[in-house]
Subunit: 199 residues, 2 copies
């Protein structure tokens, strides 16, 4: 009897792997463009694949969206994790935020508000990744607060609102360049910082 660990990823055929990647990429683009209005047929077409193939990889539209959300959380978590080694908590937090904002400016798919309404099933599927992100960022926040550099009123639970607010501003900037711009983001960041001379 061969060793078959229950977590063995059972290797996929080369074409299946390739197609899955194509599908995810196509979906990312389309959801960024059309949001909820994106259709499975469109995804299939852009991925140059049949609808059946899309459904072989993702049993449900929600599953596909869930994967996209999970990917987004993974991405943010990775950025945060990279800043974790910075000893100063506030520097780490600020670095994470700025890097994330920059990424959002570049990639529309990162901008979509994600945590309220939309698709409950998709969100549920991405829950593990959301948790993981929460843990990493939460740790940075607590460190910054312990070091007295961040207002203690802020918690990880505030992050979604924070990100959504930032996303709104960034989206607006894309629409009309003449906009207040980055100053808004600076304001948001400043609001959390605790200066040496008091809050």
């Amino acid at each position: 009897m061969r060793t078959v660990s229950s977590t063995e990823p059972k290797p996929q055929r080369a074409d299946a792997v390739r197609n899955r990647e194509r599908i995810v990429e196509a979906a990312r683009e389309l959801f960024a463009e059309c949001g909820q209005a994106t259709q499975m047929d469109d995804v299939a077409r852009r991925a140059q694949v049949g609808v059946g193939t899309v459904y072989r990889h993702f049993p449900t539209k929600s599953a596909l969206q869930g994967e996209l959300m999970a990917a987004k959380f993974r991405h943010h978590a990775e950025v945060a994790r990279r800043w974790t080694s910075e000893p100063d908590g506030w520097t780490a937090f600020e670095g994470f935020l700025r890097e994330t904002f920059a990424a959002m400016a570049t990639d529309a798919s990162l901008r979509q508000r994600v945590t309220w309404s939309e698709d409950a099933d998709a969100l549920a599927l991405a829950e593990p990744e959301r948790q993981a992100l929460s843990v990493v960022v939460g740790e940075i926040i607590e460190r910054a607060q312990d070091q007295g550099r961040m207002t203690p009123a802020f918690t990880v639970a505030d992050m979604p609102a924070f990100m959504c607010a930032a996303g709104a501003v960034i989206t607006a900037q894309q629409a009309s360049p003449v906009v207040l711009g980055d100053r808004f983001l600076e304001l948001l960041i400043d609001g959390l910082r605790v200066c040496p001379d008091g809050a």
Copy 2:
């Protein structure tokens, strides 16, 4: 020949007027609760009216949504107009914002982001009201800037992003009361103010 001005509102029957109001009110509630997922049948049921009646008053779901958006713009514009008589531009602007935020906290239907994506047709139908709001608020903003009390970088075009950011924060507050809270809104407001001692 009776005088029939082309803009004459042609009087409606009493029951028609009553039903129309009921429909709008029901729709406002449902869209606040379910957002885009709201169905015409639900609206009809909550208004205690047949679907046909809903369609008699609003030929399209978009038309109904458009009316709701128009109402929202009208509401905001009225608040702004009330502050127009205040001679100090910044005071007027701040008053308008605070009053509007307070209203958003109370009424979920005011909170929904409205200016991007969603339903282009509905937005188009509410365009006149949007314009009107824009004019009133724009005037206040310019006054505040002429008096040197507001950063000149801000324009009416920034308002949607601003409101959307505020909406995100307020929504988050509703979800978990332990949140950073109003300080966020203060930050946003502070960011536009120009203090006597420089920007």
